[in-house]
Symmetry: C2
Subunit: 360 residues, 2 copies
């Protein structure tokens, strides 16, 4: 028992299928399988970040349609997962975390939930703060990392920190939804608000108890989906009928916002959720003109400023523009001002409207 | 003899390898093999334009490396060439026209030289003016079409028309090189200047005599390259050693500017040389926002004006820009303001500098 109590078990959530990074990220090949802001795929990098003393091998949860992809991606980068748990359909984070808690070796195991599609260049700092969070987790708190804002972002949820428990751990006063610009300015100025990065640390037993109290139906369904799962080597395919009975919602909404033992560890972390092409540009190394080139396709910039080319195939030349993102795969291309990067969604909707779901 | 005298023999020059339309037009797959401003490849369309009463089957000249491509392109669109003459290397238009004149059935055959990479939507008007030009050609004149300028273009050479011979045929006063803007304004205002579109009509014998007088070495080398050619069915591969002894220059420079029997037939023709991506946009049908989409790849415009997408593969989405050209093939992509379309050349140079001749 000592080993599992002393070690932190990474739980990597790889079930997302964001479309804000079209054409690179698609339902078939979502963001976490791509190298963004790094040389290796985000999923593998997430696992490698916590492949160190104090951490046991990770549990990886993802969609069943990406099962082979997950296995290959981890193997290709030297990661041996404890197990891979495949969800029959995407049902947001709460069911996945319930399953992960139930699958733990024993109730005292400390789990660290990590989204598979975030960029965190400073792995040392991440591991250090997870280890600090684990101490609070052993005291029955469900701990979330609170990232110190680097600007008044309106695209993230915020956590308001309350009284300090000591060692930099605070009670959570409130989870606050994405603010307008004025509120965001206020939050950042106050110093009490932190970005919610979806990184949680807790005892398996604490989380199971929280589900039992607040969402017993999801817990029961999750338990049954595990009991009836098909297992081949270390790949666990959850039972579809049972899993479908979980409540498809986020862990924030289902648990974190409803408990009194939520804690936050504020931390200054070099972090990006790469939530848009503008965010990838922000996180990328740039030349003297502010241009960033990524992907496997070669890029040429001629008289261009503050722009991004990311290509997984074609060679791309950009001439005489400013603030533009050009993203290319063999199947699709988008050209969009970085300042309008949120409108990638409109493009995805338009392809669907035209019956081109094959593209997204 | 009567048949060959009465009919006009189209001579289609398909030897060009323009790089101003990168990434679509490359050394391997130049412009004339692509459908631009039309549903079928420019080479085939050029041939079909003169597949009508009064015209015999065409002679097509092109580079030996594109031999199979020429055969296939013509066959796919129902064109049966009289013959295809393959040049061992590109040596500009004078050697090609010398070869075509020597290959004529008899000296009285009337040849109409047509570039394979121009867009002329009104084929009727073209045939009519060629037939008018042929009358002057029978009177030993070497006739060039003079297109009535639709604006003070600085990208074309001009022809100054002199005294009229009758039936709309004029003596050529001068061939004028590409003018600056002030001169172009003056040329257009005067009404005496016409664009030189590289379309020539002449008796084979007249052209041979001109070469014999002015460029005997090129004529001899052309004759030898034909005499030693390898012929398979109707495909004639010119002898490389002999052809290399021709002087690699344009017919304008070698012959037209040096003779006294040059004539010009002014004509208002809907014409474009599609000499840049801006020119393709000009020549394309546009939606209410001034956007043109071409090629086989689907295009989405969201809040875009006066822009062009041309893709031969990937689906392309363009958001929130104005006056931009986005051209995509599976191998390469360019994003460039239409107003800077001439700078495609700089992109091609940059790829060469990087050792990426495979791309251009």
């Amino acid at each position: 028992m000592l080993a599992s109590q002393a070690m932190i078990r990474p739980v990597i959530l790889s079930g997302g299928a964001g479309t804000r990074l079209w054409p690179l990220s698609t339902a078939r090949s979502p963001k976490q399988f791509h190298a963004l802001g790094s040389a290796i795929p985000m999923l593998a990098e997430t696992a490698l970040r916590v492949q160190d003393t104090g951490f046991s091998s990770p549990v990886v949860l993802g969609n069943v349609r990406h099962g082979g992809r997950i296995v290959d991606c981890l193997a290709a980068h030297g990661v041996t997962p404890d197990c891979i748990i495949l969800e029959p359909e995407p049902r947001n984070t709460a069911p996945a975390i319930a399953v992960a808690a139930l699958a733990a070796r024993d109730p005292d195991e400390i789990l660290a939930v990590l989204p598979a599609d975030h960029l965190i260049p400073g792995a040392d700092a991440l591991r250090a703060v997870l280890i600090r969070a684990a101490i609070a987790a052993r005291a029955e708190r469900i701990v979330t990392l609170g990232l110190k804002p680097t600007g008044p972002e309106t695209g993230f949820g915020y956590i308001r920190a309350g009284e300090a428990f000591g060692d930099g751990v605070h009670r959570v006063e409130a989870f606050v939804e994405k603010p307008d610009q004025e509120r965001a300015n206020h939050y950042v100025a106050s110093g009490d608000y932190f970005w919610n990065a979806g990184i949680f640390v807790f005892r398996a037993g604490t989380m199971i108890e929280a589900f039992a109290r607040l969402r017993p139906q999801t817990l029961d369904a999750a338990r049954e989906s595990l009991a009836r799962a098909r297992t081949a080597q270390n790949v666990v395919s959850l039972d579809a009928e049972a899993f479908a009975r979980t409540h498809a919602q986020s862990i924030d909404y289902e648990i974190m916002e409803r408990i009194s033992n939520a804690a936050v560890v504020p931390v200054a972390l070099d972090w990006s959720d790469i939530g848009s092409w503008a965010a990838l540009w922000d996180a990328s190394p740039k030349d003297n003109s502010g241009n960033a080139g990524g992907g496997t396709g070669e890029a040429v910039f001629i008289d261009v400023r503050d722009s991004l080319i990311h290509s997984t195939g074609p060679a791309v030349a950009l001439v005489g523009v400013e603030g533009l993102a050009v993203i290319a795969t063999p199947e699709g291309i988008i050209v969009i001002p970085k300042s309008r990067a949120q409108e990638v969604k409109a493009v995805v909707e338009e392809w669907k409207r035209r019956g081109r779901s094959d593209l997204v």
